[in-house]
């Protein structure tokens, strides 16, 4: 069961920063804790792990108190069935990879599902690293070893604190595919901290938005994804919207994949290695969407979808206007110039065509549902 119930109601003041978290979380699969830098994400994670002894209040997991200040209950970190993968992939520098794994296995503190050494070695593809020392490993290798080691403690809950921040784009994509499968493979829920939107899109089944030491919202990621574009999260990344679609067909000749948004409404994206019929979530950046009044002909644009204007918001004193469109009942945002918005006389209710360049929809913005 990759689920769990986590009740948080605690305060923690450190270095002038005041963290106050009150939330009952039903964990299922990967829960992403998302927020800007310095919003208290890592401190929240550390409090759950028991590494912040200044926290007061309640931390409760599946009916067991890990912290209850009123009764003086504090379960120390080494007795909590929690695995923690740190940002800098801390491995013991005095032990080789096999030694690092043995360290965790020998002390396996959790009562979670049994995890065999051979399994983690295979799943995280580290068999060839066992005799190596940590300082000789690449960032991606270190993280894989750290994850393997964390899971050997048989945790009931896995915490990950921006584990990919030290990796380049390509390694990150690779590491994400390892992380994605943890809940299913090891039957354990994961809380994942990040401020990267593509990691949210890719991983989150559930989303907790945190800012200024407070939880702003929590819920299923599909519900909350649109809130990512609202303050205080705005500006951390480019505005956009999430569209759900099904893989319809592979066009191998041109290395394109056809996705169906609704019956009879297809778009094409660069080749995706997903089976037909799979539901994917697609993040379309507002600036990659343009608008036309009639269906254009003789254009290189491949994705032209009929749409209805829902809302037009001109940004005073700037060149830009935000247009919220409805495409087959899904919301799509377009960022166009204010001049165009006026010239096209865009108003709520008007029927238009929304256009997206196929090449704008890269792999990073996609995830399986």
């Amino acid at each position: 069961m990759s689920t769990g119930r986590l009740d948080l109601d605690f305060k923690l003041v450190r270095g002038g920063f005041d963290l106050s978290i009150s939330e009952a979380l039903t964990l299922d699969g990967v829960t992403v804790l998302f927020g800007p830098n310095g919003s208290g994400k890592s401190m929240t994670l550390r409090t759950i792990a028991g590494l912040e002894n200044g926290a007061s209040g309640i931390v409760r997991f599946d009916d067991r108190d890990w912290l209850r200040s009123k009764t003086g209950t504090f379960v120390p970190p080494h007795l909590r069935p929690v695995a923690h993968v740190f940002q800098d992939a801390r491995l013991f520098s005095h032990l080789d990879v096999a030694g690092n794994l043995a360290f965790a296995q020998r002390r396996a503190k959790g009562n979670g599902p049994a995890v065999s050494r051979d399994d983690v070695i295979e799943i995280f593809d580290i068999a060839h690293l066992l005799q190596r020392m940590p300082h000789g490993l690449s960032g991606g290798e270190r993280q894989r070893v750290a994850m393997a080691r964390a899971l050997l403690t048989r945790p009931r809950l896995v915490l990950m604190d921006e584990p990919l921040s030290a990796l380049d784009v390509q390694r990150r994509a690779q590491a994400l595919s390892f992380i994605e499968q943890i809940p299913e493979q090891f039957k354990v829920p994961v809380i994942y901290v990040t401020h990267q939107i593509d990691e949210v899109v890719r991983l989150a089944k559930q989303l907790v938005l945190i800012a200024g030491g407070r939880i702003e919202a929590s819920g299923s990621s599909a519900e909350l994804m649109s809130r990512l574009d609202l303050p205080p999260f705005t500006g951390r990344f480019e505005a956009g919207s999430i569209i759900e679609a099904k893989v319809k067909r592979q066009n191998t000749e041109f290395a394109l994949t056809e996705l169906e948004i609704a019956k009879g409404l297809q778009i094409e994206v660069p080749y995706l290695d997903f089976p037909d019929g799979e539901t994917v979530r697609l993040r379309i950046r507002a600036r990659d969407v343009s608008v036309a009044l009639s269906k254009p002909k003789g254009t290189s644009l491949r994705n032209i979808m009929p749409a209805r204007v829902e809302e037009v918001r001109e940004e005073a004193d700037t060149a830009f206007a935000e247009v919220r469109l409805s495409v087959a009942e899904q919301s799509l945002r377009a960022r166009i110039s204010r001049a165009s918005a006026q010239e096209l006389k865009l108003k709520p209710g008007k029927t238009v065509y929304a256009m997206v360049k196929a090449t704008a929809l890269d792999r990073r913005l996609l995830t399986r549902r």
Partner: protein, 226 residues
């Protein structure tokens, strides 16, 4: 080598080994505490453990003489326990050497623990290691270079001390007469041959130990504990 010279060498070796062994046991927890505590007592304790470094050995020796003497609280306790005085005895020399060499052992270890930081310890905690387990299976192996340095510095310091030993132990052959005092005495009595032999011996030994330590520190031991 006369029996007396041999006695001095043998006594010095015993003193160094016993003092440093006991001192490592005593100083490691102090260094650990100093490296990680947030207590307000940290600064006074820090100053206290560094004091032997800056005090003239004669001052330290004088106070130790008072403290360890039959009227001092440590000395009187020892008398009631063993029936012998601590001053002018080998046991007294061990106590004095330990206190005199304390900063040389505490400082490198404390530095090593600080360099390691809390990261590996937190890591170990989340992997299920209790505080004591963290100390032995992560702290000590991670700080092994500092511990080796501390041992060597302490050892060399015990071999070379003079003032404190003379104040507390006097110059009793076979009981408190160590090499450094034997050298002083040889020079005083114009027995330069013995002074040469003992001095050269100390010089070569110190050099050999340092070379050994630096060589060992260069090649990082691969597996230490687990």
């Amino acid at each position: 080598m006369t029996a007396e010279v041999f006695n001095a060498v043998w006594l010095t070796a015993q003193l160094a080994v016993i003092s440093i062994s006991l001192l490592l046991v005593l100083a490691t927890p102090i260094a650990w505490w100093l490296a990680f505590t947030r207590s307000r007592m940290k600064v006074p304790v820090e100053a206290l453990t560094t004091l032997p470094l800056v005090l003239p050995p004669t001052v330290l020796g004088f106070y130790l003489l008072i403290l360890l003497g039959p009227a001092g609280w440590l000395g009187s306790w020892w008398v009631s326990l063993t029936g012998q005085t601590l001053t002018f005895s080998f046991a007294g020399l061990v106590v004095a050497s330990m206190i005199h060499s304390l900063p040389f052992v505490v400082q490198p270890m404390r530095q090593a623990f600080q360099d390691m930081g809390t990261g590996p310890l937190e890591d170990a905690a989340t992997l299920g290691a209790s505080p004591l387990d963290r100390f032995f299976s992560v702290g000590l192996p991670q700080a092994r270079r500092g511990i080796v340095t501390a041992t060597v510095l302490g050892f060399a310091h015990v071999l070379g001390e003079f003032g404190v030993v003379l104040m507390v132990g006097g110059n009793i052959p076979g009981r408190t007469k160590v090499v450094s005092i034997a050298i002083y005495e040889s020079v005083e009595t114009l027995d330069y041959a013995t002074a040469h032999m003992l001095s050269a011996g100390l010089l070569l030994l110190s050099f050999a130990v340092l070379v050994g330590v630096f060589a060992a520190n260069r090649s990082i031991p691969l597996k230490v504990g687990q």
